[in-house]
């Protein structure tokens, strides 16, 4: 039955592409999470009246985040080709997609992190200061735990965006379901391959959303 609906689908290739997409999404989400949080902390703490208030650092970080958040992803990949080939040694394959994915997504996530931190009651930070907490303690024990639900729902949204980005990266040869759908499906006029790749991407997105929602709910004690 499935064989007749998708006559042109090479299941082994489809599975391989799915694994590649999952790999790219997972790796880029991981790096985006770390870099985004670091950028978010810098943006938050260097803002006026904050613990590290520093106009220049705040401005520079803000510009970096805004610039890379604004460049359309497909153009960012092309702009980053020299950087990628320097860093990875090649511009093809899943690993070559990672720099562009991370640089594209981390600034976006940094904004979400900043918003999450801004939602924290200022009084709680003041309370920690009044107890003699260092800035590091405030970061580790106040900022991050108190914004956990927003950080998790933010990385969920970002991760889903990254699934879409991997498909776009696929067009220039990153591998994964995007490449498969484009090369084997679209260019060879096999709509069933495109359809199957789409279904698989949708399933990945739904699973990420489901896990993200569940973890956010569990983390939220408010």
């Amino acid at each position: 039955m499935i064989e007749s609906l998708f006559p042109n689908v090479d299941w082994e290739k489809m599975w391989e592409a799915t694994v590649e997409t999952l790999y790219m999404t997972a790796m880029s989400t991981l790096f985006t999470f770390v870099i985004g949080i670091v950028l978010g902390i810098i943006l938050f703490l260097t803002a006026p009246k904050q613990l590290w208030a520093n106009r220049i650092v705040n401005w520079l970080t803000g510009v970096f985040v805004n610039v890379f958040r604004s460049i359309p992803f497909i153009i960012l990949i092309i702009l980053l080709i020299p950087f990628t080939s320097f860093l990875i040694g090649t511009i093809r394959g899943p690993n070559a997609a990672l720099p562009a994915l991370i640089i594209g997504a981390a600034p976006f996530y940094a904004r979400l992190v900043l918003i999450a931190f801004q939602e924290i009651d200022k009084g709680v930070i003041e309370a920690a200061r009044s107890m003699g907490a260092t800035t590091w303690t405030i970061i580790w024990k106040v900022l991050l735990p108190e914004s956990k639900p927003a950080l998790i729902s933010g990385i969920t949204v970002t991760s889903i965006a990254l699934v879409g980005y991997t498909a776009m990266a696929g067009v220039i040869g990153a591998g994964g379901l995007g490449t498969l759908a484009f090369l084997d499906g679209f260019q060879r006029s096999r709509p069933d391959v495109v359809l199957m790749a789409t279904i698989l991407i949708l399933i990945i997105v739904f699973i990420i959303q489901f896990i993200g929602d569940a973890v956010t709910r569990k983390a939220d004690k408010r």
């Binding site: 003041e126 200061r129 009044s130 003699g132 735990p145 108190e146 004690k221």
Partner: protein
Amino acid sequence: MIELKQLTKIFDTGKASLTAVDDVNLSIADGEIFGIIGYSGAGKSTLIRLLNGLEKPSSGSVDINGQVITAIKGAELRKARQKVSMIFQHFNLLWSRTVRENIEFPLEIAGVPKEKRTAKVKELVELVGLDGRENAYPSQLSGGQKQRVGIARALANDPEVLLCDEATSALDPETTDAILDLLVDINKRLGLTIVLITHEMHVIRKICHRVAVMEGGRVVELDDVLSIFQAPKEQITKRFVAQVTETEDSAATIKNLRELYPSGELVKLIFVGEQAEQPILTKLIRHYPVEVNIVQGDISHTQRGAYGTLVLQLKGSKQEISDALLFLEQEKVQTEVMAND
């Protein structure tokens, strides 16, 4: 001993500058419950934050038990803050932590090992009356319970001074009283100095020994709570005193009373301290031929003794009434004949 000398804080808000605290000199004794009252914008929030270095003064100094808070920074200031803890109007608990973990937080900051933390938390939970709620999250607690967690958290590192930033302003009257009782209890039991800021005279009356009245960044009046109630000097102090001594419809009261009691003389007596416990009224009735009718009365207890007002209707001849008033004067009761207009 807390000493504030010529303490001034000026905020630069672009073009204009705002003097939040203006040349404040105060000296607060060990074990004292010291109140600072003022309307919002009077500078009391800034003043209390100067005491633990959350704000830096523009000039002047804060000295707490020999340590000049305004002169230290970094690790030294953080260490000092463990001995000058603070509770807040909106409690400022970490919602991501349970009651136990919230109380543990300052202990973690101070680097206390796990077993000691557990023992200390147990002790504090009992002290503030939260037994059995250790594993609840703040969202599962009432306002009063949250403030109890705040107090336990503030006491974790055995501070010498407790700063209360409008600690009961977000609570209903009954809970307010329970929290105030707890603060007095802690003050007596641990010998802790308490500095509190508030806009409610009720709080001052109920627990403070001395009070400073702030207006426009300055301390305009400072005295023993009982003396403030007995003889407020400044207009603003009179308004604060009126908050608790006059009944709700006080403006209309005199006129109403005159209508209700058209004959005789209406006299307001003010009792302070021991007088409030003397049978002055009995003596008055026994020894003077005036007719005495109690119109309105109110007695309140402060940490430094009782304070009360009593409105009497005195009926009799002019001579009889003036004799009675003379007697009251001799008994050192403050009397005030209410105008007959």
